[in-house]
Symmetry: C2
Subunit: 218 residues, 2 copies
C-alpha cells in the first residue's frame, strides 16, 4: 500500500514525463511537489526500491509498469471524483481540483466501481480529460490547440490543457465550455489573439495564450 505522498509523486511523475515518455528530472519534480530537490531524491529512492520507477542518479526517473499503472489508477479516481462533483453535486469546473486531490486517495475498489456506475461510466472529466478505464487504459482522441486550427472552419471544444481555476472562470465568463461549437472568425496580427464565434451566437476575443490551452477537434 502506498502512502498519500508516494501516490502524489507517482502522479506527478506520470504527468511530467508525458505519460511515461521521457525521464523526469529531480528539479522539476521538486517544483511540482512544492518541495526541495533533496527531498525528491529521498522519495525517488524509496519508489525505486519498490520497483515503481527506475531511478538513475543525475539522470532522472522513469515510470515502470507498476508505477504507471498506479499513477493511472489515481488519475482515474481523480477524474471520476471531479465528474461526480460537477455532474452530481453542482460544483463548477473551477472548484473541483483541490477536493479531488483529496478524494483521489480514498482506498476502496468497491467505491470507485460503484461511483463509476453511478456516473454512468463517463469517458472524460469536466475539463475534457480522458478517464482511464479500470485497467488503466486511456481512450486517446486526437485534439489540437484552437490556436492551430484553420480559420472559418467549425470545431468543437474538447478539453482545456492548463485548467487553472482563473482560466476556467474566465472561460465560463466569456461563454466557452466543453462541447461548444466554435470557429475562428478573425486573427489579430499584432498579438496573435483570435476572434471566435461560439455556437454561431456570440463572438469573443481570446488571447493566443488562451487559444493554445483550448483543445479542439474538427
Amino acid at each position: 500500500m502506498l502512502s498519500y505522498t508516494e501516490e502524489n509523486y507517482l502522479k506527478a511523475i506520470y504527468h511530467l514525463s508525458g505519460a511515461g515518455e521521457r525521464p523526469v528530472l529531480t528539479n522539476e519534480l521538486a517544483e511540482t511537489m512544492q518541495t526541495k530537490p533533496a527531498s525528491v531524491t529521498d522519495m525517488v529512492k524509496k519508489l525505486s526500491a519498490k520497483n515503481l520507477i527506475a531511478y538513475e542518479k543525475y539522470y532522472g526517473v522513469n515510470l515502470l509498469k507498476q508505477g504507471k499503472l498506479q499513477a493511472l489508477q489515481i488519475i482515474r479516481k481523480h477524474r471520476l471524483w471531479e465528474t461526480f462533483l460537477v455532474n452530481k453535486l453542482g460544483f463548477t469546473w473551477d472548484e473541483v481540483h483541490e477536493v479531488a486531490e483529496q478524494l483521489e486517495h480514498i482506498q476502496s475498489g468497491l467505491l470507485i466501481e460503484k461511483l463509476d456506475k453511478f456516473l454512468e461510466y463517463p469517458t472524460v472529466d469536466p475539463h475534457g480529460h480522458p478517464i482511464p478505464d479500470p485497467s488503466g487504459k486511456i481512450k486517446e482522441v486526437k485534439q489540437i490547440p484552437l490556436a492551430d486550427f484553420p480559420a472559418y472552419k467549425k470545431c468543437t471544444i474538447r478539453a482545456v490543457k492548463n485548467g487553472s481555476p482563473s482560466f476556467l472562470q474566465y472561460l465560463s465568463k466569456i461563454g466557452i465550455y466543453i462541447e461548444a461549437s466554435v470557429s475562428i472568425v478573425d486573427k489579430v496580427e499584432f498579438d496573435g489573439s483570435l476572434e471566435v464565434s461560439i455556437d454561431n451566437k456570440k463572438r469573443v476575443f481570446i488571447s493566443r495564450e488562451a487559444a493554445q490551452n483550448l483543445m479542439v477537434t474538427g
Copy 2:
C-alpha cells in the same frame, strides 16, 4: 487544521465519553485507537495544548467546547458519507464504515454543504444514527433497546447500537431493517432470546444480545 490522527482521537474521545459526559481514560482510548497507552498520553497532551480537551494526569480527558464541536463535525461528515454510499451508490449498510472512515477526513466545507443538499438533508444515517447539523447540534430521539420493550406491543426499529458488519449482515439476512415494524411475540426463559414478528409477516428468533443492540421507539 487538525491532522487525520488528531481528528480520529477527538472522535474516539467523543464516543467513549458518551458525547462528552464522562472523562475518558488513557487505556480505553489506547484500545479503540489500536495503539499503546504511552502514545495516547503524548497525543492527549497535544490536543490539550490546542485547547480541544482538558487533560489531567492519571485522571483522563474531557472534551472542551472546541474539541466537541470538531468531533461533531467529523461525525457529521462520516454519517453524511455513509448515507451517500448507501442511498446513492448502492452500498449495503455493512459495507460503508471503513470507507466513511476515510471520507470523513476530506477537508471542504463546500463539499459537505453540497453533499448534504444532494442527499436532501438527511437526519439519520443508514444505521439510524443522527446526523449532526452544520453547527453540531443533534436531534436526539428517545430510543430503548428492543430487549427492554414490552411484549406484544408494536414498535419501530430506529437504530443499531453496535453496528459491526457481521451483526448488520445477520440483521439483513433475517429481515430486520431500519423502520421495520416489529413486536415481541415470545420470550425464551432459558437464554433471554426473543421471538419477534416483523411487519406482521414473518417471525424470527433473536438473541438477547442482539435485542440489546436494536434500538426502537414505541
